[in-house]
Amino acid sequence: MTLPLGDLVAIIPELIVATVACLVLVLDPITPPSRTHWLAWLSVASLVACFGITVSRMDATVTAFSDLMILDPYAGYWKLLLYVVTALTILLSLAYLRVERIHLGEYYGLILLSLAGMMIMVSAADLLVIYLGTELMSLSLYVLAGFKRFEVRSLEASAKYFVLGSFSSGILLYGISLLFGVAGSTRLSAIAAAVGTHGLDDPALLFAMILLVVGFGFKIAVVPFHMWTPDVYEGSPTSVTAFMAVASKAASFAAFLRVFLEGLGGLREKWYALFLVICVATLILGNVVAIVQTNIKRMLAYSSIAHAGYALIGVVVAGQAAADNETRALGLSSVMLYLAMYAFMTFGAFAVVALLRKGGLEGEEIEDFTGLAKRQPLAALLMLVFMVSLAGIPPTAGFIGKLYVFMAAVNAGLTWLAVVAVLLTAVSAYYYLRVVMVMYMREPDPSAGLVSRLTTSPALTLVLASAFAGVILLGLFPDPLVSITTSAVLPFK
């Protein structure tokens, strides 16, 4: 047996991430506690290297390991996004872990392992490989969710996430095995061929499809598979929450879109309706329940559910049976664009929450933000920008993302869906602006003390500056990203 050298070259970024993850795990025990931040910087450096490699390969489409993996611009786009988010997570954790008194080096290793799983997910062309990637991602996240070992909520979050995550993985696996039974293969191309020969009404195919909807629905946290989200987001360390809310959601969307558009594209007449229902339910529930939240992390959890709903609008457009390929491609690229915009603003919001924790506040109840504009004007201003962007107000990234998704819907003749979504955006202003109101329009509690300057580290400054720049620059100059997404969409057949 010869070493499949060409295949290994194709997955160099995955190899780098996995190797550095192991390296971090090995180096951790022999690194003095005062130097653990070196491990973090090592991880970031490896991500920068991967970013360069992936960028240089963006234009080509290569398959590897006898078509188990595919490295196309679509996968490249998601990987770039994931590198950025992971790097931000590591930088955020540098400061945040110290406050939470988490001194475990394997933290960074697990983040990288999780990333490796996500990278496999986005470039897998085979259901089993996707499953493999999903499990690698999720198992790392289960452990990360429980990293605040001395806090009950964190452990509870971890346990809940694990039980429900395995449950949903089981459903996913069941769907995969059914599809294998029908198609005789787990390759997406083979499944697409089987869909073609079996037709739309094969009950086994339909049932398998529904099981996949449930499995992926859990990962991207859409109604009614969203219930774990608030509990887990609230309990996990905030840096991990940010990672889950952004990276794991993006990777799951990427894999799920590839499976449904390439593997089950022939069934889209059927799943289109399912996603339409899920999309509307998610939009309504996410936005309405967010109104009554008092904990900012729970509020952001429901907000992330609602945003998955907005992204699903693009999925619905891409799944329209009647629409032409150009219209569908617009839908898909709008999802890709939306999730990138979402990544920056959501990460930014969680980063501010983490930062306030650092400022000595509890920082997790919305009430804790009272009078923040006076105590920490810069932090309040950043939060204002992120909230405004999440509410979809120009000239921020959130507005462009929404505009693009809604345009895609209207363009595909789904004007009513755009109407519903736009109205719910109006509702969302209420709960996002409540945070602004508390920060800017209330006197700070005198007992909280005045902190005039941000107590901050260079890493944290870098994180907040990147998120802020992302939100503003993508809002003002969306053009480059738009052209990347339009050129990186999956080819529609």
């Binding site: 346990a159 809940k160 949903s168 069941y174 693009y404 345009m407 004007t415 209330r442 053009d479």
Partner: protein, 654 residues
């Protein structure tokens, strides 16, 4: 050179925002306000230059600042359109804006967050300028949202008041409802034209079918109704009076709230294609004009009376748009900016003199104490009441005359009745504030003082404008103002405008004057000649009085109909997400059991999962154990299964 001049108009205040926002804490207030006012002053000078050029050459110009492409079919520029309509708006916004900025130096003196105030005000100027200068819908929308955000921040400026924060949120959310309509209109425009540029859209507006044009126009109207506080989305504006008085004058009277009128006039090519939408605009305006005026009759807060009068006057502008009198709408917009800014700032001067008192029941007899403010307020009152020959007379009369000569008799009647009420409540306000016995509380009475020069001088300018501001529009429909604006605003409906004979117009002017004087006379009788009569009248119809006083209970109705149900639903779902009801779980259990092979597998899986929990949860403390044992995880899993079944049913039943 000319392009640069245009681009600089919004850039000056933007620079001031950046400098004051980032470094404002490093230097004294004097630097901050000089920067803020100076930048607006420079914008004003540029606007005058641009206006002069347009006047001289009569050319409509487009200036592209930078290309803000969207890829694909959609290309959007950050670009400005300079035509007569923009010029008028520019002069109003920067001119009145400059005066109010100057006034604020005195009014906000010594307030906490002085620099912050000016930063927000300048940010507002930037947004408002983008709004009126943009050459496409997206730039308009950016300005539109920007002014909303600044309005929000400035209403909530006095954050020690809970009511201020509530009012701010209310204003913002209500505006967002309107914005939803506006955004949909933008989508519809894009779908139908493939572009968002005004020039192309308006040139091809004639291609629209009536149904499409109506849909777009009605969506635009929803946006305009929210921003310009028309029925049914008007309740935020009176509450917005929680903000500092200069804010009320600039944002909630002179500029931002007129954005809806500007937007309709700008889009008149589309509205002209949609008669149904036009009728709707006219009736929304007519109803608002009358409805708000009735509420204004009995309010006791000096600023709230002015707020309802703003709502009512905006109604006149909508009415004018709806009957195709676009030039008249902009004319009234301009004169209203003059006299309403004057009234608000004079009211601010009163409030300033009375150490913050806003209740007119605790005023009275102020004429002798603050004569200058009194004179200025009186000029504003005369102007808004439509007393010949002040600014308000010409613009309001033109709207009413247009309604009459074009056969909109019902709207005309509403407008006339509204004018009577306007005159009445404005003179009521004047009498109660400045005449009669002093009802000022003793501890305040000692401090009454005339406002400093920096506050009075801008008011003098506004007073002059309120007096002479109507003359550019004389003679009605044939004045200089009309010749300047008509190239932009003449539409299909207003094409028939010039058929009216001269003598009914003169007759209508007489009617308008009589009406205004009647309102004045009635107010004089009730609040000056026989002060006790007013309360007797109120006592005679207690139910009607109470209904008016409580603003027809609209706020309460909205709360009961929308706000509370939304919160309740949210709370129910939240509770549902936290602790799922046993019954449901049992139900799902039954369902799973019914599902033979599948359910067996599922239960196995749940048990398998639970065993894993047992292993993993060794480290958990007792408390979390208990919470796990209530079966919440189990419940969540059951919900997932329920979801699976729902999807299955959907597919089977589809």
């Amino acid at each position: 050179m000319y392009d640069l001049l245009v681009i600089l108009i919004p850039v000056f205040p933007l620079l001031a925002v950046l400098i004051n926002g980032l470094a404002g804490h490093r230097y004294s207030h004097h630097v901050a306000y000089r920067l803020a006012c100076g930048s607006v002053g420079l914008s004003f000078l540029c606007s005058v230059a641009v206006f002069a050029t347009t006047l001289r050459t009569g050319i409509t110009r487009e200036v592209v600042a930078y290309t803000w492409i969207f890829g694909g079919d959609l290309v959007v520029n950050l670009a400005f359109l300079i035509d007569p309509l923009t010029c008028v708006m520019l002069l109003v916004v920067t001119g009145v804006g400059l005066l109010i900025h100057l006034y604020s130096i005195g009014y906000m003196h010594g307030e906490e967050g002085f620099t912050r105030f000016f930063t927000y005000m300048n940010l507002f100027m930037v947004s408002m300028l983008l709004l009126v200068m943009g050459n496409n819908y997206l730039v308009l929308f950016i300005g539109w949202e920007g002014v909303g955000l600044c309005s929000y921040l400035l209403i909530g400026y006095y954050y020690d008041r809970v009511s201020a924060a509530k009012a701010a949120t209310k204003a913002f959310v209500m505006n967002r409802i309107g914005d939803a309509g506006f955004l949909l209109a933008i989508f519809l425009v894009f779908v139908n034209f493939g572009t968002l540029d005004y020039t192309e859209v308006f040139a091809r507006a004639g291609e629209l079918s009536t149904a499409t044009a109506t849909a777009i126009a009605l969506c635009l109207l929803i946006g305009a109704v929210g921003k310009s506080a028309q029925v049914p989305l008007y309740t935020w504006l009176p509450d917005a009076m929680e903000g500092p008085t200069p804010v009320s004058a600039l944002i909630h009277a002179a500029t931002m709230v007129t954005a809806g009128v500007y937007m309709i006039v700008r889009n008149h090519a589309i509205f002209d294609m949609a008669p149904v939408a036009m009728t709707t605009v006219a009736w929304v305006g007519g109803i608002t004009a009358l409805f708000a005026a009735t509420i204004g009759l009995v309010q006791n807060d000096i600023k709230r009376v002015l707020a309802y009068s703003t709502v009512s006057q905006l109604g006149y502008m909508f009415l004018a748009c709806g009957i195709g009198a676009y030039t008249a709408a902009i004319f009234h917009l301009m004169t209203h900016a003059f006299f309403k800014a004057l009234l608000f700032l004079a009211a601010g001067s009163v409030i300033h003199a009375l150490s913050g008192e806003q209740d007119i029941r605790k005023m009275g007899g102020l004429k002798a104490r603050i004569p200058m403010t009194h004179a200025l307020f009186l000029v504003g009152t005369l102007a808004i009441a439509g007393i010949f020959p002040l600014a308000g007379f010409w613009s309001k009369d033109e709207i009413m005359a247009h309604a009459f000569t074009h056969g909109h008799y019902a709207l005309y009647a509403m407008a006339v009745l509204g004018a009577l009420l306007t005159s009445f409540y404005m003179f009521r306000l004047t009498y109660l504030t400045f005449y009669g016995q002093s009802r000022v509380e003793p501890h305040v009475a000692g401090h009454i003082h005339e406002s400093p020069g920096i506050m009075i001088k801008p008011l003098l300018v506004l007073a002059v404008l309120s007096v002479i501001g109507g003359f550019p529009g004389v003679p009605p429909e044939e004045g200089w103002f009309h010749h300047f604006l008509d190239p932009v605003t003449v539409g299909v409906l207003s094409g028939a405008a010039h058929q009216g004979a001269t003598h009914p117009i003169v007759l209508l002017m007489v009617v308008a004057t009589v009406i205004a004087l009647a309102g004045w006379g009635l107010a004089h009788f009730l609040y000056s000649a026989r002060p006790e009569a007013a309360s007797q009248w109120a006592a005679r119809a207690p139910a009607a009085y109470r209904t008016l006083f409580n603003k027809y209970y609209i706020d309460e109705a909205y709360d009961a109909a929308f706000v509370e149900p939304a919160k309740r639903v949210g709370r129910i779902w939240d509770w549902f997400d936290r602790t799922v009801i046993d019954g449901l779980v049992r139900g799902v259990g039954g369902m799973t059991q019914g599902g033979s092979a599948l359910s067996t597998w599922m239960e196995k899986y749940i048990i398998y999962g639970s065993i894993n929990v047992l292993g993993y949860a060794n480290h958990l403390t007792a408390r979390s154990w208990r919470r796990l044992q209530t079966g919440m995880v189990h419940h969540y899993a059951a919900i997932i299964v329920a979801g699976l079944f729902i999807l299955l049913h959907l597919i089977l039943l589809w």
